[in-house]
């Protein structure tokens, strides 16, 4: 269930490409034929998401589901649980989706997990930054601007949150937000906004002569196109997908993607690519145990029995990367980092890790 139309249709395109490429590779290498049917949630709308998934279950008889975005994915939880459809979210994973039977995240929690590392990096590298403005939306990352950033920023810097600005998803005009942030005297901006909004925001902040650091939690080439050269002043923290990685799984994925679509894969595409391989691996395990690979309950049990899988994240020249599901909350652990941008391309500033609420948030910064 992807965003095939509307403002987020770019995400739907790259996610579906990743899934379809994986299905093609598996079939070409003697594996089963995955029939991929796509439902469109029209870039985050709940009604078409529910209708679409209901159709996928009743008419297409799906056994597994790849979902995206926060609100639509939370809305379909009762449907996938009632019908026992093993579901993976590699897009808008959120705390509201944790610990839900049949629903598993294949990316770090959007905004929530990288926030500790991002704010620690900011406090450590910009010690004069005390007054922080937080900008976000009501779609994703809500827990960060409501609870996490106000809680940990004073601990990390001795400073305070001086402005919290919420904007509509898909906004292109940030003049009012910028005016209020500047009037509040914010030394830096931390944003959990996503998509093209980020590009417009960074561009307009810089055009308004705002010189403080702007730290976010996402990078897409599309937002970089919007922001142009101003994006080189942007810093972000996430489980960023590196197309230059020497991880053999990644290298063959990138090569195949370029051969198939004429361009390298993108972050979100990589998540949906490896999800299909996770499903295939689960099917193989179930078959090896004499079970039914069309039974989602058995597939989920196989995941619980051994939650480690190969990943296009991490690894190195001689080692395939791995990822591991947390059996308590159904989240995932992947390598994360704080990244700068140069010439429109990200580069690693410091590796970071996920920390729990009871840990010292400063321990998230590894570099």
């Amino acid at each position: 269930m992807l965003a095939m139309t509307g403002q987020g249709s770019f995400f739907g395109k790259v996610m579906s490409r990743g899934a379809q490429l994986a299905a093609k590779q598996i079939k070409e290498n003697g594996g089963p034929e995955f029939v991929i049917t796509i439902a469109d949630h029209e870039s985050g709308l709940v009604p078409p998401a529910v209708t679409g998934v209901r159709r996928l279950i009743t008419q297409n008889k799906i056994k597994t589901l790849q979902t995206s975005y926060g609100a639509p994915s939370e809305a379909i939880i009762p449907l996938v649980q009632d019908n026992k459809v093993l579901t993976f979210n590699g897009g808008g994973s959120s705390p509201g989706q944790l610990s839900k039977d049949y629903l598993w995240m294949t990316r770090m929690l959007f905004a929530y997990d990288p926030t500790d590392g991002a704010l620690t990096w900011l406090a450590k590298n910009q010690p004069n930054v005390k007054k922080l403005a937080v900008v976000g939306t009501n779609e994703n990352g809500v827990e960060v601007w409501k609870e996490k950033a106000p809680r940990i920023w004073p601990q990390l810097s001795g400073g305070s949150i001086v402005a919290t600005e919420i904007h509509d998803v898909g906004a292109t005009d940030f003049a009012a937000v910028i005016a209020r942030v500047k009037a509040a005297g914010a030394d830096a901006v931390f944003t959990v906004s996503f998509g093209d909004d980020l590009g417009y925001m960074v561009k307009q902040f810089r055009e308004a002569n705002y010189e403080g650091p702007i730290v976010g939690i996402e990078f897409t080439d599309q937002a970089a196109k919007v922001a142009g050269a101003t994006y080189d002043t942007y810093v972000f923290a996430t489980d960023y997908f590196d197309v230059e990685s020497k991880n053999p799984f990644t290298a063959q994925f990138v090569e195949a993607h370029i051969a198939e679509y004429g361009e390298p894969p993108e972050y979100y595409g990589s998540n949906y690519y490896e999800q299909v391989f996770v499903i295939w691996e689960l099917m193989r395990r179930v078959i090896a145990n004499g079970g039914d690979p069309q039974d989602s309950a058995q597939l989920q049990q196989a995941l619980i029995d051994k939650p480690e899988f190969y990943s296009v994240y991490g690894g190195d020249e001689g080692t395939v990367g791995t990822m591991s599901f947390d059996l308590n909350d159904h989240s995932i652990s992947k390598p994360m980092g704080v990244f700068g941008v140069k010439g429109g391309k990200p580069y690693l500033l410091a590796p970071i890790k996920k920390v729990s609420a009871s840990d010292d948030p400063a321990s998230a910064l590894l570099g």
Binding site: T172, D173, A183, N209
Partner: protein
């Protein structure tokens, strides 16, 4: 606590974005007031203008100013095409206002999906505008903001002058006031309709290109601004809109509302 800095910046920002929306409202309103068609497909003219300019710049290698002209021409051509191929045949068959609106809505959905199929969902920048920021005290604005305000109001004043001072403008006003009476005195309604579609399309094209110079073209870029433009028309009062002399007052009212909303 009152902040003069915040007030000044929001006022300036409100004027900039409000001017843009005022232009969109006029572009929509001039069509609506004359034809009574809720021309939702205006969003496609907005989008197509941007894509045409981007293509002319990136693929044909035209200079920026010429690429912008191409965008305007294509927007006008699309407006004419929609009127001639969709609305006019339906009007002649006595289609209701609702049927025309649904046609427009269908064109919008099909158009944005067609653009996505042809150009892909990726953003398309329109580079080359020499962006510069000005600061007056704590208030900042860019040369594109300035250009947006100036061009928008020049266009709006141009429409007012056209409607009040020219033969075709007076015919348009007559049609807006009473179509039956206008036809009785020899005004040809098909011609007037075509004229307002051309006028509205060129205005929406200008608005789209001003936006794209500071952003990107994307398949659904027209929907949000056109919806806000509709609000501007209704704030201006659709009946009052027919009286061009009062139009400026309505648009100014919209600017004030927009500034307050920004606050």
């Amino acid at each position: 606590m009152f902040s003069f800095q915040l007030f000044s910046q929001l006022l300036v920002s409100g004027i900039v974005i409000g001017s843009s929306y005022a232009l969109l409202s006029v572009s929509f309103g001039v069509i609506y007031a004359t034809t009574r068609i809720f021309h939702f497909a205006h969003a496609i003219a907005y989008t197509v203008a941007s894509y045409a300019s981007v293509t002319a710049l990136a693929k044909a290698g035209l200079p920026l100013w010429l690429a912008l002209m191409v965008g305007l021409v294509v927007a006008v051509a699309l407006g004419i095409l929609i009127e001639l191929a969709a609305y006019r045949p339906m009007r002649r068959r006595g289609a209701s206002t609702l049927a025309l609106f649904l046609t427009s809505l269908g064109l919008t959905i099909a158009g944005s999906n067609l653009i996505q199929i042809v150009f892909g969902p990726e953003n398309k920048p329109l580079p080359g505008f020499p962006m510069k920021t000005f600061a007056v005290g704590a208030v900042t604005f860019t040369n594109l903001h300035l250009l947006t305000v100036i061009v928008s109001w020049v266009c709006i004043f141009g429409v007012v002058v056209f409607l009040k001072k020219t033969k075709y403008g007076k015919a348009t006003r007559a049609a807006q006031s009473n179509q039956q009476m206008a036809m009785a005195v020899g005004i040809e309604m098909d011609g007037v309709s075509l004229l307002v579609f051309m006028l509205g399309s060129v205005l929406v094209g200008v608005s789209a290109l001003l936006f794209t110079l500071g952003g990107v073209a994307s398949p659904n870029m027209g929907l949000s601004p056109i919806l806000i433009g509709f609000i501007g028309v209704f704030l201006g009062d659709r009946e009052r809109f027919r009286r061009s002399a009062r139009r400026l007052r309505a648009r100014s009212g919209y600017l004030v509302v927009r500034s307050v909303a920004e606050w």
